[in-house]
C-alpha cells in the first residue's frame, strides 16, 4: 500500500524543505523508517499547520476561519513510501511508537481516472497479447502446448468459430470432454459464447494444446438459468478431470484447468463461520476437490473476478474481500486482469482472498480485441479473459515440463517469482506478485534444465 508519512523533524530541517532554493531529499528527513520502503524520487513537501483564526477555534474544522502557519516550529513534512499490504496495520502502529517525529500515516490512493472499465473499447488486440507473451520465443523453446490437455470449464466451446477466427486448426479432445447431467451437445460444437472466448484466449500462448470441453455453466439443474450452473456441477466435472489425470502416463502428465467463473453473491451460501459455507471454508467439498486435483498434478487457474473497486460488476454482492471460495484457493492460481498497456483494469478484483490472503497471485492480459465471441466489436474482457490467457502460458510450459518433473506447486511459485512486479515491496493486492512474464519463465526454465543436466 502506498502511503504518505507526515513527519515533524527539527525546525531547521522543516525550514530547509520549505525553502524552494534549497534542494532537499527524502533521506534528509526520513531515513530508516522501519517497514517502509521510501520513495526517494518524491521530494519531501512542507505542509503548513492549520490554526484557528480566533482563540478557542477548532484547528481541523472546515467550517471556521483558519490561518496556515509555515513557521518552522509549526509546519511538518510529508514523504511518500510503501508498506506491504499484509503488514499495514502492524507497521503503522509500530511506526508511531518507534519514531516520535512521525505525526501520522495516510493512504495515498491512485487518482488516475483512466482505468479500463466494462463497456470501454478494446485496448489492443490478441496479436499484442501474443507479442507480450513472447509466443515466438515460447515456440522456439518447444513450449506451444503440444501434448497438453487444457480443460475449459465454462459454457462450452465452438471449435469451428475459434478455428475460423484464429485461422488455425483447433483440437478438441472429444473422448475426455465431459457434460454435466442434463446437458446435451457435442464437445466443441456449443453455441458461440463465453466458453468460446476462453478457448480462443487459452490458445494464444498454447496453440497446440488439446482442449477438453467441460460446459458446467450450461447446467439446467434446478436453480440454474441460461448461463449459470451450480457448484455441484463443478464438483462432478473435477471428479471427471481426476480420472483424466490419473489415466495419463506419469512421464507426460499435464492437465491445465481454466475457470473463468465464480460466485457473485453470498445470498445462496451459508454465512462465513457456518460449517456448510463455501466462500470462506476450505472444508467445502469443492474446495477439497480443487486441492485434491492440484495435489494429483493438475494446474488449476481461477479468474480473480470483476469486483474491483474502481468499476465493479453490478452483480458483485460481497461487501468486501470479493475473491471467494476456490477463486482464492491456495492450490490454485488466482488471475487478475491488466490491459495490453500494462495497467490493471478497474474491474479486476483486489485481495486479500478469503481462503488464502495473497490473492490475486498474478495478472494477465484482458480487454483486447480477440475472439469477438461476446459480440461484434466486443473485446475479450473480464478476468474471464485474463484467466485463460494465463492458462495458455501454463499449458505452453507443460509441453516440455510434465507435472511429475515440475509439480504444480513449483510451477505456481515459478509464475509468482518471475512475474513483473508492479510495486516497490513485492506482493500487493492489486497486481499480486505482478504481471506474468514469459521471458522470465523461459530464463528460469533454462536455468532449471541446466542444473538438472
Amino acid at each position: 500500500m502506498r502511503v504518505l508519512i507526515q513527519l515533524r523533524p527539527s525546525p531547521d530541517l522543516v525550514a530547509a524543505v520549505a525553502d524552494p532554493s534549497v534542494p532537499s531529499m527524502t533521506s534528509d528527513v526520513a531515513d530508516g523508517l522501519p517497514g517502509v520502503v521510501l520513495d526517494h524520487s518524491y521530494a519531501p513537501v512542507a505542509v503548513p499547520r492549520p490554526m484557528p483564526a480566533s482563540p478557542g477555534g477548532d484547528p481541523l474544522s472546515l467550517n471556521q476561519p483558519l490561518v496556515f502557519s509555515m513557521a518552522p516550529q509549526d509546519a511538518s513534512v510529508v514523504v511518500r513510501g510503501e508498506i506491504a499490504d499484509d503488514e499495514v496495520t502492524s507497521r503503522v502502529a509500530l511506526l508511531s511508537a518507534a519514531r516520535r517525529d512521525v505525526v501520522a500515516v495516510y493512504a495515498d490512493p491512485a487518482i488516475e481516472t483512466t482505468l479500463t472499465c466494462g463497456g470501454d473499447p478494446a485496448v489492443g488486440d490478441w496479436h499484442d497479447v501474443e507479442r507480450l507473451l513472447r509466443v515466438p520465443d515460447l515456440t522456439a523453446e518447444g513450449l506451444d502446448g503440444s501434448g497438453v490437455r487444457l480443460a475449459v470449464v465454462d459454457t462450452g466451446i465452438n471449435a469451428a468459430y475459434v478455428k475460423a477466427t484464429r485461422g488455425h486448426d483447433v483440437t478438441v479432445d472429444h473422448e475426455r470432454s465431459w457434460n454435466p447431467e442434463g446437458v446435451s451437445g457435442t464437445p466443441g460444437d456449443f453455441p458461440v459464447d463465453h466458453g468460446t472466448m476462453c478457448a480462443f484466449d487459452a490458445l494464444i500462448a498454447a496453440p497446440k494444446a488439446s482442449l477438453l470441453d467441460v460446459p458446467v455453466l450450461l447446467s439446467r439443474r434446478q436453480g440454474g438459468s441460461t448461463l449459470d450452473g451450480l457448484l455441484s456441477d463443478a464438483i462432478a466435472a473435477y471428479a471427471h478431470l481426476r480420472d483424466v489425470l490419473d489415466a495419463q502416463p506419469a512421464e507426460s502428465r499435464a492437465l491445465v484447468v481454466t475457470n473463468s467463473w465464480g460466485s457473485f453473491s453470498p445470498r445462496w451460501d451459508f454465512p462465513p463461520g457456518h460449517p456448510g459455507n463455501y466462500s470462506d471454508n476450505p472444508a467445502h467439498p469443492f474446495n477439497l476437490i480443487v486441492g485434491s486435483l492440484a495435489e494429483a498434478g493438475a494446474d488449476i487457474l481461477f479468474a480473480a473476478g470483476n469486483c474491483g473497486t474502481q468499476c465493479r460488476d453490478g452483480r458483485c454482492a460481497y461487501p468486501d474481500r470479493p475473491i471467494v471460495g476456490a477463486n482464492s484457493h491456495p492450490s490454485a492460481l488466482s488471475i487478475g486482469g491488466i490491459d495490453t498497456a500494462g495497467t490493471r483494469v478497474g474491474y479486476s478484483s483486489q485481495g486479500p482472498g478469503r481462503l488464502a490472503a495473497r490473492k490475486p497471485d498474478v495478472c494477465a492480459y484482458t480487454h483486447f480485441a480477440g475472439s469477438g465471441a461476446l459480440g461484434d466489436g466486443e473485446p475479450d474482457s473480464g478476468t474471464s479473459a485474463a484467466c485463460p490467457v494465463a492458462a495458455g502460458l501454463v499449458a505452453a510450459v507443460r509441453s516440455r515440463w510434465p507435472s511429475t518433473v515440475l509439480p504444480p506447486s513449483q510451477l505456481r511459485t515459478l509464475l509468482r517469482r518471475t512475474a513483473d512486479d508492479r510495486s516497490a515491496v513485492g506482493y500487493d493486492h492489486d497486481y499480486g506478485y505482478g504481471v506474468v512474464d514469459a521471458a522470465g519463465i523461459i530464463a528460469a526454465l533454462r536455468r532449471r534444465a541446466a542444473k538438472a543436466a
Binding site: 472499465c117 466494462g118 463497456g119 465454462d154 459454457t155 447431467e181 442434463g182 463465453h194 458446467v216 455453466l217 439443474r221 434446478q222 436453480g223 440454474g224 438459468s225 448461463l227 449459470d228 450452473g229 451450480l230 457448484l231 455441484s232 456441477d233 463443478a234 464438483i235 462432478a236 471428479a239 481426476r242 473463468s260 467463473w261 465464480g262 460466485s263 457473485f264 453473491s265 445462496w268 451460501d269 456448510g276 459455507n277 463455501y278 472444508a283 467445502h284 467439498p285 477439497l288 476437490i289 485434491s292 479468474a303 473476478g305 470483476n306 460488476d313 453490478g314 452483480r315 474491474y347 461476446l374 466486443e378 473485446p379 474482457s381 473480464g382 478476468t383 474471464s384 479473459a385 484467466c387
Partner: protein, 83 residues
C-alpha cells in the same frame, strides 16, 4: 436453498445405493441424476446432492451419519463481460 451437499466416506466399491443405505436416505431425498461423486479417492470421500431437510438430518447433528455437511451448492456464473 433447494438442495445441499453432504459428504460420506465409503470403502470401494462405492455406490449411490450403498451411500443412501449408510445415510438412511430415500430416493425422493437424493438427486439420483447427480449420483455419488468422488471428491478425494485417496480418502474414500464422496459427495451427494440431497434435499435441505435430508441434509440437516444426516449431516448436522452428532448423530448424523454423514462425514460432513450440509454444504451450500451456490449458483456459479461466468466472470465476463463485466456489466
Amino acid at each position: 436453498m433447494a438442495k445441499v451437499l453432504v459428504t460420506v466416506r465409503l470403502a470401494a466399491p462405492a455406490t449411490l445405493e450403498g451411500a443412501m443405505r449408510r445415510l438412511g436416505l430415500t430416493e425422493d431425498e437424493v438427486d439420483t441424476g447427480y449420483g455419488l461423486v468422488p471428491v478425494d479417492p485417496g480418502r474414500n470421500l464422496y459427495v451427494l446432492r440431497v434435499t435441505e431437510e435430508a441434509g440437516r438430518r444426516v449431516g448436522d447433528s452428532d448423530a448424523g451419519a454423514a462425514d460432513g455437511g450440509p454444504y451450500s451448492d451456490p449458483p456459479i456464473e461466468p466472470y465476463g463481460p463485466p456489466r
